[in-house]
């Protein structure tokens, strides 16, 4: 097998806002009624105003062909918000979830995490949650709010979000 001489990653930098976000980016699923919002925090607990959050998820039936994609900048106050549908469970036995990528100034290589839903019975059998240390699992579960769900991302420090080596 040939050597995989990958092109190395570099930070998205502070000035991507005029280039990568697009108006429909935060709309993961057209007409969806599920609102998912959150804030990205750094290790000092400060909001990160120059992160870019991307999500990929299955449709309501758990289908991933042509995965539903969204992109939202956290400018100017560290917050992001997506409009989507609740994904169905995927074929690999996972509970409903969104895959998340975080890019930011100061992040030389992006991070992968996941959003799961509170009170979801399938979480108990989810093979990914099962390998996450129990005392950190809550960082992957969104919090239900009046108008949807909240999922904060902590890059470092207390209650640091679980990130995956994908």
């Amino acid at each position: 097998m040939a050597v995989q001489e990958l092109t190395p990653a570099q930070t998205v930098g502070p000035f991507y806002g005029f280039a990568l976000p697009y108006p429909a980016g935060p709309v993961v699923a057209e007409g969806g009624s599920l609102r998912l919002r959150g804030t990205v925090f750094d290790g000092a607990g400060e909001p990160v105003p120059d992160a870019l959050v991307e999500v990929l998820q299955a449709d309501v039936d758990g289908r991933l062909d042509g995965g539903l994609f969204g992109r939202c900048s956290t400018a100017p106050e560290g917050r992001f918000a997506f409009t989507t549908v609740r994904p169905g469970p995927t074929a690999d036995g996972c509970a409903p979830h969104l895959a998340v990528i975080v890019h930011a100034r100061g992040l030389l290589l992006h991070l992968h995490t996941r959003v799961y839903f509170p009170g979801e019975a399938l979480n108990a059998a989810d093979p990914v949650l099962a390998v996450v240390p129990e005392d950190r699992r809550h960082t992957l579960i969104a919090v239900e709010e009046e108008r949807g769900f909240r999922f904060d991302i902590r890059l470092q420090g207390e209650d640091e979000t679980v990130f995956f080596d994908v």
């Binding site: 190395p8 005029f18 000092a44 996972c94 895959a99 030389l108 992006h110 890059l155 995956f164 994908v166």
Partner: protein
């Protein structure tokens, strides 16, 4: 089941904890990453509904009323996976500073002129051979506040997806022979010299257009599919 991706070669990427680049200090996780083997979702291909590519999206010198100032260049190359297979139909997004080293973004306070004829944003799709091509001007170097006399070498930002969320890549393309390389902690965060050189384009006479633009070639390699038993059986 989606095709698993190769896991080798990823040590070419920088460590997220790189003290010389100060902004990494509070933005890298301290807890170990949790390994996720062959996850169905992250191996899926995102459907990118960003709309059709407009005819001038690849030509950053023709998106405004007039010609931008600066050294007109062609930047082209092939996007391949880690097994050498061309990646056709790939969305390639680029953004950059203008020839004076200023981004067309309000937060950029560098005291260098904006160019009304240059937005600094482009995108295109790779062709059947995995080739992309942009026309632009060479970006200028610019100062930042990381350390005393900190200047970023000229670079163009690139964003690609590959075949899956797990092959996502955001990186920067540099220009050959830039004297700022040794002083740039972002570039030097890639510690393997051969890997670092893979971020540097080459001057290319074939891509150069007589009486019009110099050409640079820069190839990109994204994670490739892992071999499977089934492929072996089918030869």
């Amino acid at each position: 089941m989606a095709t698993p991706l190769r896991r080798d070669g990823r040590d070419a990427h920088p460590d997220r904890d790189h003290p010389a680049y100060r902004s990494t200090a509070l933005r890298h996780p301290r807890q170990p990453l949790v390994p996720l083997h062959d996850p169905e979702t992250e191996l899926a291909r995102p459907f990118l509904g960003a709309g059709p590519i407009a005819p001038l999206d690849h030509d950053l010198t023709a998106q405004r009323g007039g010609q931008p100032l600066g050294e007109r260049i062609v930047v082209t190359g092939r996007v391949r996976d880690g097994n050498g297979a061309p990646l056709a139909g790939q969305l390639v997004e680029v953004w950059q500073a203008n020839a004076s080293g200023r981004y067309a973004q309000a937060e950029d306070r560098h005291d260098a002129p904006l160019d009304p004829n240059f937005a600094g944003v482009g995108r295109c799709l790779t062709d059947a051979a995995g080739t992309y091509r942009f026309v632009t001007v060479k970006p200028g170097p610019y100062p930042w506040r990381n350390h005393d006399k900190a200047w970023r070498p000229s670079h163009i930002h690139f964003s690609l997806f590959g075949t899956a969320f797990a092959s996502r890549l955001i990186t920067q393309m540099y220009f050959p022979g830039d004297p700022l390389f040794p002083y740039d902690p972002v570039m030097q965060s890639v510690t393997d010299e051969a890997a670092r050189e893979r971020m540097v384009a080459a001057f290319d006479l074939d891509a150069t257009v007589d009486q019009w633009a110099t050409g640079y070639r820069w190839d990109i390699v994204l994670r490739g599919p892992a071999a499977t038993v089934f492929e072996d059986v089918e030869g």
